[in-house]
Symmetry: D3
Subunit: 256 residues, 6 copies
């Protein structure tokens, strides 16, 4: 039995509160157990200089953590004057993951800025960020459809993320909280689409290594968790859930 | 009549949610109209190097804003690699104001770190930060009393803050929201104690000036607003409200 | 009696040396007791990007201190690679104060850069900076009139600043030097116009608070001091003193 | 057929030149095709502050690239004053990977600084860095054995890394050069031990996703490549190759 | 004839005002023509970490320029957040030059901080800084003798600096002002001792080169100028001038 | 006899390997004894903003050192977030020296970026950088001639650099290695042209001074060394060596 009574393949309770902030084009508060992240999506009607004139859009992400989101207070990155390597790694991951399911050509020369700010941390902040940011992103893109700037959502599929790990006693477990993460010998973050394809796999054995059989079990466990996360995303998106991937179908029909 | 239907001397609805985060020794979410700030207080059992051995405690504050707290997205200070002048001004103000009602000698060689993070901004973020941070601070200090590290709250009085301003048409108004602030010809932030004394007055006429009579009206309006804010603080503090200022009385008795 | 023999409402000796440097369009050395500040005003024939095309001018200020202006050497901000919060607060104050008496519309799309560099510090450097910078600013704007680029000085009124405070023994005192400032329980900086209106009031009780009656006395003391500072400014400006506010009168006449 | 005539499962020519620099305790120049990296290992007889007194050692890595290692000149990170997110990601990866095969307890309170500097880049610089740094690390640790400071190499196993990817036309390919990497729809870096276990898997579909079957093929291809890289490492290490993992065996015997 | 009527081997008027600031242990204002530099020397009773326990003292220098010291305003280095290469070069030069005539052993474990701040610039600011800083340094060291902390001045000789250059029309000229410097094809800074020895020679042909004969003429011209600068230093130092080099004589006597 | 057996006027073995890297327009590895520097020249078809429209080209240089190029590891400047004063001084020197022999008018509105990265350091890295960078520069400019963008090499003369110094026992010595440099009482870097003219002389007596006679001996020793370095450059340039200075001759003929 796990510390919090969950079975090894059980997610923590997940809630996604859409339209959490009034100014952002898209926003959610996502809660995965005690991990809470505010995710916003901001639309900008231009792309970075290196992409201008190419006709394609761009999605970029930033990640932050309130100083007292954690058990010990962390110095504010703004005060330290530089962004930590861990932060950069996470924001690159979030941006890359979201871009993988968006049709940037259809988006046109627009940038979507994703901001994920961790209000309270208890493990899995990067995967919660991806899962929440996906919903904020779709809500912001829905705005473009509502305003007649796009005909359909330029989103090919659902996308969510979770963590899996190998506990020295319990073996493979899903959705690690902070104390589980601290004792795991292998830690893996998996990002998958609604169609069950992989977008990102980051598996790490800090001071350890893992076998092929363990890897297989980790991946299957992650997949089951992600399917349940996508169900929560569908609910948060309401009627817009049905319009994800719509365009792709149309195109395929056109191609026949 | 004001944009949002308030009378000129009316505060926006104010809510203070105590114990908002699980890790911090003290925390609140304060809502003043659409302005929402998370305030935390972190206890550290040492003081900065320049104060060591002096037997006194210290209170320091940091202030931040989520990039999309505002109508337009603001670049993250961590990404820009430096803290804006406005931010520094606000964090210095918050720290100074809170220190004015705390008995640093009684606190002993401890630091309280205050973090005010604006989740959503609609004017008055610095005064909401002070009002909310006061409650988070008392909650954290109460922890020291509960743990037997202090005999009584080292807090001499209540403390809250609000803004007042001169609207070109409506004259003196209380608790300006963002659009009111943008058109005000004079803007003033006032911090006061429960005893009705001033701790900080910052009045500014950007591209304008104001008379002594106007100043008097501004100060009276602010005082009435602050009394109501303190009533909300009392409620949020529950039984601890009665213990604010307690020590001072004891001391006076002892001195007789 | 005060440390240096002054009465409680007495300014230190004030000298303003106009045209102190040869390159700047306007410059002064201001001495207020042992506090010495070089103030320069630089004209630039454009405004910052965010103001372009608006037809209005801009005034911005920077403040610095030589490392050994103070009793203990302070590390150079250039070497530390960042500007302290105190410095930013002061430069924002100087700029805001000066803008309040300048007709930015009449100035046109020009920027005036104000630089205040403290050569020797003995309390009151920010108020001496404002008082001196005002003169440097008028001298630089006079250059625009002389060159035929402006018909009259775009300056509505005089402007000067001083500090007042509450000494634990002497009560309210004017123009605090460094040692007085260090022991004052309340410290207030006041910026006023020639017409006796307030432009900025910053009153602070560090680890203390002050009553309404004390506030009134502080403000009256400050006002008397500022009147005397403006008399010194008039002398330093020579014939240009008479042309301050000139335009406003003309406009009022035109409006009749 | 691939651009450079290789078959899809073929590595580029790999050379490891040990003892490449005279000052470093361990150093190599590794060439993987046209990718050339200088890897050094520096011994320091202390650990970072957060590890002191714990009896364990530490391995940390830094990564850099000469400005003209690439086809277009890249601005020097020192001149830009900050380290890019990509660089931080890579240096964290290198350090983590190397630590996974070192017995930090046996190493004792020492730090090994790994520096990987890319002299010429043609894809796969992070995996070449890991493969080369492993050899530099063992050479530096061998110095400790030679000097009598350690009884045996505190290294449990071999460790090497390579990249695999999915080319839109050729399918899964091994050890991508720069132009192959630019057109690959999936890119994966794999770090494995001599025993064939995984230490790190980082698979990314930029603007794409991949199936479980594709993942399996990628992993098998990577494994075959890494076995060949370890053979090259063995040669570069000469007689020290036989002493890798030695200690582990002794311990197991002792435990019987 | 030169722009300002000087002959080719003539210095500009030089004035050194000792004890210019009240807080610093040593200070001067040096004027060389229109170039004006405030030089201060600050004593600190410790040395940098890398020198502790060695029994020797240290002298370090910093250099700055007021933003409007020059014809065009220069952005403040503090605001830019970094020190320019030119500034670093100058501060390294000043420190190195001063150290060459100080007996650091005799100084003991103390640091002298030299600050040279250019108030007004018209060419030759680095050489004026050295010449002025030397006097500020001796004044500060004299304080140590007066206070009984040192028996004699730990200064072996006088030290001053000037610039020479080759004008395209006038040939070799001494002590270039800004406009002369701008058109010179060769520019050389020379630092010499009272005994006529070289401490530093920095000759540069920007987009040009110079012959051995030209070099000889440059050096002779510089030497004559430096002798006159040392005469001005002697006057500024008053009775302390006679005590420069005193210790050296004593030592030689002792050695006989 | 010197530590490494050289006579006092003998250079260390010098090798210049042209075309060392595949991407750069010009590149060499220069070895001067154990000092090894990679020098590259990158062509860019534009000049910095301040030079645009002037019709002239620009040459700028950057200098770096691998962390373990030295006996003790040096922290990476990128990690420290700022460039050391020493580095800035060297890169300014390299750029200035190279510009002195290039006809920037003939080069046209192009920038040549020079990068000198020290792989292994044993004294004389800045002079080796100049000597090697000169060859990389000519190789890059030769590319412009080959591509028909320039009719002839815009290079007026050869250029090389070496160090000389005064050893406390051996007197004047040429081309100091690291241990010689550490004990030298005078250190001088000299940059000269093929015609035997000086471009830069930087002589420094750290905690010492030197006479005119010593200076003369230093310069003669340097000149002899530089002639030999230019012979090595000629060899490395192959057929392009003959085309250095070619244009100047043509111009002189045309002028007759």
């Amino acid at each position: 039995m796990r510390i919090d009574g969950r079975s090894s393949r059980e997610l923590r309770p997940v809630h996604i509160h859409p339209h959490y902030l009034k100014h952002a084009e898209g926003s959610v508060l996502i809660e995965v157990g005690d991990t809470k992240v505010i995710c916003t999506a901001t639309l900008e009607e231009k792309v970075p200089p290196f992409m201008r004139g190419g006709g394609k859009g761009w999605i970029t992400a930033e990640y932050g953590m309130l100083p007292r989101a954690t058990e010990q207070r962390n110095a504010r990155e703004a005060s330290k004057g530089k962004v930590a390597g861990r932060t950069m790694e996470i924001q690159r991951l979030i941006g890359r993951a979201l871009r993988s399911v968006v049709d940037l050509q259809q988006l046109g020369e627009r940038t979507v800025w994703i901001d994920c700010d961790v209000i309270q941390a208890d493990g899995g902040t990067r995967t919660a960020s991806i899962t929440g940011a996906y919903v904020a992103l779709v809500l912001a893109l829905a705005r473009l459809v509502e305003d007649g700037k796009l005909e359909s959502l330029p989103v090919r599929d659902f996308l969510a993320a979770t963590s899996v790990g190998i506990d020295p006693e319990l073996g493979v477990i899903l959705d690690l909280n902070y104390s589980e993460d601290a004792r795991a010998k292998v830690d893996m973050n998996v990002v998958m689409t609604g169609a069950g394809q992989f977008v990102e796999i980051q598996g790490t054995g800090e001071e350890a290594a893992f076998s092929r059989a363990e890897l297989d079990e980790l991946l299957e466990t992650a997949q089951a968790g992600i399917e349940r996360l996508i169900a929560v995303q569908r609910q948060a998106l309401g009627e817009w859930a049905a319009r994800v991937g719509e365009k792709r179908i149309t195109e395929q029909e056109g191609a026949e």
